[in-house]
Symmetry: C2
Subunit: 218 residues, 2 copies
DNA sequence: ACAAAAGTGTTCCTTCTACACCCATGC
DNA sequence: GCATGGGTGTAGAAGGAACACTTTTGT
């Protein structure tokens, strides 16, 4: 027998950086350290449901806003000094939320850079696995749109790839690739001026779930 | 609190078909039905270690012979009528073993076609997830070699792809692709005549862990 | 000799890459 | 006007698909 928890790797892009939602621990062990949000799975509750509930409780976010999937399960004996705890980690990719941590349980939740180590428990490793999963998934799936608001420009979508992959992509080739890939994005017909320069068309997510051919990391 | 188990999706290729190792249940519930092998995680045991131990116990196989990874975790309330059981599923890709189920706990373990439904618990779904993971991984990793013995021919490796993907691949283009992809396979210098026809060179796995560019499903 | 499987060469076509160039706006 | 970002065209390189053809064995 073991306690079963869910931990959440909530990723978003804020101020041009990949960020993760962390909470500051208010009790021992690891008092005062940053940790992934999470909590116990209820007796009559499915794992996905528990993760979605925690997401709502910790962030006030609708889980359907972005993308949500099981990441992996961690159960090394001793990973929690209080006893045997097996945690099922979930990964969510979310748009930069207008009211990020509103009405939250954890009043001390905060978006932090995703590459800072020093988290409680084995959360450094869980976070690293989540970031790596996100990097890989952008190649074969249209999930980059999960980081964007419902309507977005091609430049904003390119910014997602550049931030997550830590590379620069050619704006011209990226535009062609994304707009010609079947079902990746759909034009809304509207356009908007973000900075200076020519107004950009707005797009929304398309129906595709896979990218054929993929968009490979340089 | 919940009971934590590991379940194993052990895949191999036998007689030209993708097969999975199943055990016939000797106790209720699901008495007499086929199920994935598995068992309880010990109190002081890591999840990976428990899975590797079950693999040895059920099959007598060295886990390093093929490939081994965590698949996903399943914890729907009621998936086991005896109580709350959360199971961490592992996926292994194994060569066709000379002595498949020797010295095994489960004397009734047997290789069965991987596409037959009717398993106990939610094992149909776990198996389907494992097969889909295997299909996807062959595209961008060199893991097809995990289904092969230490030395193998290009035709045997092609047979792995054809069986797992349920397609035909052009032998000539496949040969070129595999032998020129950096680190996928290495020539041993030996050759062997399998059927009729010109003898084939033997290869062993190369050091690569990713395929660049990938080998996409047709 | 013939069948069968292994392996090479070649041609065509799609996709990637790099970059020249035009477009539409704010200032 | 000019700077700035949005978007199109195009030439060359790289990789994939189709298939003719040669090599090396068993029978």
């Amino acid at each position: 027998m073991a306690a079963v928890t869910v931990d959440l790797v909530l990723l978003t892009i804020r101020r041009g950086a990949l960020q993760v939602l962390l909470v500051r621990r208010g009790i021992e062990p690891f008092l005062g350290q940053w940790a992934l949000p999470g909590g116990f799975v209820h007796d009559d509750e499915d794992l996905d449901v528990a993760a979605a509930r925690e997401l709502r409780e910790e962030t006030g976010v609708d889980p359907t806003a972005g993308h949500f999937e099981q990441l992996a399960t961690y159960g090394t004996p001793g990973r929690d000094p209080r006893g045997r705890v097996v945690t099922v980690a979930y990964l969510a990719l979310l748009p930069d939320l207008p009211a990020p941590v509103a009405g939250s349980d954890a009043a001390h939740a905060e978006w932090r850079p995703a590459d800072d180590p020093g988290l409680a428990f084995d959360h450094d490793r869980i976070l690293a696995d989540g970031v790596e999963r996100a990097r890989a998934k952008l190649e074969y799936s249209p999930l980059a749109t999960a980081f964007c608001p419902p309507e977005f420009t091609v430049a904003e979508l390119r910014g997602v790839y550049e931030t997550v992959w830590r590379t620069r992509l050619d704006p011209r080739n990226f535009h062609r690739k994304v707009t010609t890939a079947e079902g990746f994005v759909e034009p809304t017909g509207h356009s908007v001026t973000r900075d200076r320069g020519r107004p950009a068309q707005l797009f929304r997510r398309g129906p595709a779930t896979l990218l054929h051919p993929p968009l490979l990391r340089p």
